[in-house]
Symmetry: C4
Subunit: 288 residues, 4 copies
C-alpha cells in the first residue's frame, strides 16, 4: 500500500466522530482480551493440563490484558471493562454520555472473542467430550468462557469476593495512572496493569475465577448459551451469572473512591516534583 | 462526581498534615500487600495445590509488593515494612519522629489485610478443615497468614536466615534507588522491587517463608490468634513469632549499612554521568 | 583490540550497502530465535519434562524473540519472520525489493539455528531414542524443530488457527510500535513483543504449536529432513508442512490491515499529545 | 546517622582509588549472584521439588543476575563474570590491567556467596542426607553450588555447549548495551540481562546447568571441596571442573566478536537517530 493510496484511504474512511473511533477501539481491545484470555483457559482445560495450568492461565490472561490495553489505550483509554468505564464516569474521567456506547462495544467485543475461541478450538472441543458441550461435571467446558463459583462458595461470599477484587483492581489502576503519585512511565502502564492481573488471579482467583469485568463474563456466557451449552450457563451455581455483572460495578466504584479518599485528595497542589517522588523520598538526607 | 464537587470535597477533607497523609498511605499499601500477598498463599494452600504452587506464590507475592509500592510510593515512600522504615531512619532518609507512626500504620494495614483474606476465603476455610482452624498438621492454615519455621530449622539458623534475607532486601533496594549507581528509571522502581522479591522467595523461602517484614508477620499473626487459631500461633515452632520481628530489623540496618560502605560512600562527588553509568562502562573504548 | 585496530577493521570490512547489513542482521536475529527458542522445546522434550514444561517453553521462546529483536532491531527492524516482513511491505513500511533478501536471510538463519540446537544436544538426542530420530510416536523429537498438528486437528481448523494467531501477532505489533497510540517507549518494544508471544503461546499453542512464522517452521523442518528424520517431516500430519508457511503470510497481512482499519486510519492528524495519550485519558477531569 | 556524621564517614573511608572501588563492587555483585542464584537451586533440591523446580530456578537465577547488576553496574559495569570482563578487554571496553583484579574480586565474591548458601541452609543440608555431603547419587547436593554434566554428555559436546551459551550471552549483552542498535533504556539493562538469562537457562540448561561463568562455577566448587564434599567435586563428570572455566572464556570472546562483525562494525558513523531506530524502522512509510 503506497503512501498515496494510504492517504486516499484515510480521506475516504477516516472517522471524524471521536465516539465511533472509541467504540471501535473498545470493541477490538475487548475482542483481543477474550480471544487470548479465554484462549489460555481453553488451552489448559482442553489439553487436560498438558499444555497449561494455573501459571499459564494467570500469566497468559494478564498479558492478554496488557496487549488489549496497548491496542486500545491511545484511542479510548483501554478500559475493555464496564466496571472501569463506570468508575471513570463516577470520578469525572469519562463523560456519562459515552458510557452506554463503551459498554455496548465491550460486550460485543467479548461476544465475538468467545466465538473466536470456540472456532479456533472447534476440533478440540469436539474431541474433548465427544461433541457434548457441558456446563458441569468432569468434562465441563463452559468455564473456559464465563466464570462459575466453586462448589463451597455462597452467593454472599461470592459477591463480596467480586466487589473486593474489582475494588483492588480499580484502586491499583488509579495509582498506576496517578502522575502525582509514583506513576508508571507513559507507554508502560499496560505492562503494570498486566502485573496487577497476575497477582489478582493468583490471590483472588480460587473462589470464582476472578471475572472483575461484566463484559468479560456476560459476553462469553451469552455466546455459550447460544452455541450449544444451553441455558444451564445461567442457572448453574445457584444462578451465579448476575454476580460477576453487578458486583464488579459496585466494587470498581468503591475501589476508585477509596483511592481518591486515601491518596489522591491529599496531593498538595501543583508544585510538581516536591512531595510525590518515591526517588526523592529515598534520598531525603537532610534531617535528624 | 463533577469537577466542582471534587474541589469542594478536596477543600473539606484534604489533609494538610503530611504525617497523617503518609500514615494513610502506609496503611493502604500494607493492606494491599497482605490482602493480595497472603491471598496467594491462601489460594495455593486452600486449593491443595490445584490453583497455585511455589511459582504463583512467589510471583504473586512479589507483584503484591509492586502494586502496594505503586499505591503508596509517591506519598510515603512505599516502605510497607518496619524494617525498611528503620533502615531509612538509620541512614538519614526518614525522620526518627515519623518512625512510630509509620510502623503503627503498617501493622494496622497488615492486620486488616489479614482480615480481608479470611473474609474473602471464609467459605473455603470452613470447607478446608470442616470449620477447624489449625496451626499445625496436614490441615494447617495458619501459615497462610504468618510464617512458621520448617521442622528442621533451629532458632539460630532461622534468625540468621531472616537477618540475611532482609539485609539483601535492603541492600538491593538501596541500589535500585541510588541515582549515582545504575538506578531504575523513575516510576519503574516498584517493578524492580517486585523482581527482587521473586528471587528472594525462590532462593531464601524454604527455611521459614521469608517474612523479612515485622508488620507482614505480626499483624496477620495477631489476627489469627483472635480469629480462631488461638495462642498456638505464638507458641508454635519453639515460640518462633519474635524471630520475624527482631531479625528483619537487625538485617535491614545491616544490609543498608553494607550498601553504604561497599558502594555509596565511594561515589565521587557531584560530577554526574561521569563514572557511574553502566551504559558508559560498556562503551568505554578509548584505551589499551 | 585497541581503538586504532578497531578503526582500521571498520575501514576494511564495514559494509556500505544497507541491504547486506540488514540481511546479516536478519540472519543473526533468526539464528538466535531458533537456537534459543527451539532449544527451549528441546530441553523440555529431551529431559522428558524434568528440566522444562509448558511454562519454560512459553516464557523461554518469548524471551528468545525478545533477545533476537534486540540483536537485529536497530539495523533491520528485527522482523525475523517473513510474515512480519510481508505485512511491512503491504503497509508501506518496507520496500518490496528488499522482501526476498529479508526472507532468504531469515530462512538461512533459522536453518543454521536448528543445526545449532541439534549440535548442542547431539548427545542428548542419541541418548533419548537410542540414536533413532523419529517424527511421530512416544520418542518423537521432530516437534522440537518444526510444528506438527495435534491428532484431532483438521487442516481447515489448523489453517484458521495459524491465520488468526499471526493476525493477532501483527495487529499487536502494529499497536506496540504505533506512536500515535499508547506505544511502548523506545528500546522496550522487544520486551513487549516477548510478552505478546507469551500470551499467544499460552492461548493458541495447543492446536499446532503456534508457529506464526514461515521461516521459523520451514527452516528447521528442512534441517530435520536432511539431518536424519527423513521426508516424513513433510508428510506427517496430512502434509501439514505448508500450513505454517501459507497461513501466517495471509494472517499477518490480515492482522496488519485490521489494525490500520480499526485504529490507525482514524488517528487525528499531527497535533501530537492531544487525543492519543492513555495517561491523559485517565486524567481528563474537566467534564460532566 | 546524621548528614554530618555521614559526611565525616565519607571523608575518612571514601576510596579515592577507582580500582579498589570497582573490586568492592564486583565482589559484592558476585556475592549476591551466588547467594541468591545458588540459593534458588538449593531451595529446589533441598525441598525435593516441593518449594521449587525448573521455573523457580530459571527465573530466580535470572533475577539474581538482575539484582547483582543493579548493585554493581554503576561502579564497575556489573560484569560479575570473568568471561564478560575478558570480552570487555578484548573489545577495548576495559583496561587489561584491571582484568586480574576484576576476576579475583569475582572469585572471592562467589566463594563467600557459596558459604552464605551453606550457612543459611545448614540445618536443611544436615536433614537432607543425614549429615553426609554427597557429590553424586540421589542425595547429591554438590550441584547446588557448581555445575556437573548430565550422564550422557561427552566432554566435547559439553565444551561446545559452554562455548555456545556464553557466546550467545555476550552477543546479546553487546546488543542490549549498543546505543546505535535498539538498546535498552538506561537503568533497565539489568532487567533485559535477566530476561536473557531466563531464555538461556530454559534452552541450554539441560546439558550441564549452563554455568557460562568461571567465577560462578569455580568459586562455589572450591567452597564445596573445603566444606566437606571433598575432592570428588573436581574429579566427578570425567574431571568436568575445567570446562566451565575455559569454555566460557573462549565463548565470551567469540560471541562479542560475532556481534562486532555482524552488527556493530557496520553502524553508520555518528548521525544519531537516523538508521538505528526500530521505532523509525516500523514507521518508514515513504516508499513503494
Amino acid at each position: 500500500m503506497s503512501r498515496k493510496s494510504r492517504r486516499s484511504l484515510k480521506e475516504k474512511f477516516s472517522l471524524k466522530n471521536s465516539l465511533v473511533k472509541e467504540a471501535l477501539s473498545e470493541f477490538l481491545g475487548t475482542f483481543i482480551l477474550i480471544a487470548l484470555g479465554c484462549g489460555c483457559v481453553g488451552q489448559a482445560v482442553l489439553s487436560r493440563g498438558e499444555h497449561g495450568g494455573p501459571m499459564t492461565v494467570s500469566v497468559g490472561f494478564a498479558m492478554a490484558v496488557t496487549i488489549a490495553v496497548y491496542v486500545s489505550g491511545g484511542v479510548s483509554g483501554g478500559h475493555i471493562n464496564p466496571a472501569v468505564s463506570l468508575a471513570m464516569c463516577v470520578t469525572g474521567r469519562l463523560k456519562w454520555t459515552k458510557l452506554p456506547i463503551y459498554i455496548l462495544a465491550q460486550f460485543l467485543g467479548a461476544f465475538v472473542g468467545a466465538a473466536a475461541v470456540f472456532g479456533i478450538y472447534y476440533n478440540a472441543f469436539m474431541e474433548y467430550s465427544d461433541g457434548k458441550l457441558e456446563v458441569t461435571g468432569p468434562n465441563a467446558t463452559a468455564q473456559i468462557f464465563a466464570t462459575y463459583p466453586a462448589p463451597y462458595l455462597s452467593l454472599v461470599n461470592g459477591f463480596a469476593d467480586q466487589v473486593m477484587s474489582t475494588a483492588v483492581l480499580l484502586l491499583a489502576i488509579f495509582a498506576i495512572f496517578d502522575t502525582k503519585n509514583n506513576s508508571v512511565p507513559k507507554g508502560l502502564e499496560p505492562i503494570a496493569v498486566g502485573l496487577l492481573i497476575i497477582v489478582l488471579t493468583c490471590s483472588l482467583g480460587m473462589n470464582s475465577g476472578c471475572a472483575m469485568n461484566p463484559a468479560r463474563d456476560l459476553g462469553p456466557r451469552l455466546f455459550t448459551a447460544i452455541a450449544g451449552w444451553g441455558m444451564e450457563v445461567f442457572t448453574a451455581g445457584n444462578n451465579w451469572w448476575w454476580v460477576p455483572i453487578v458486583a464488579p460495578l459496585v466494587g470498581g466504584v468503591l475501589g476508585a473512591m477509596t483511592y481518591v479518599i486515601f491518596i489522591e485528595i491529599h496531593h498538595s497542589d501543583p508544585q510538581p516534583g516536591e512531595e510525590n517522588d518515591v526517588h526523592a523520598k529515598y534520598e531525603m538526607t537532610n534531617m535528624a
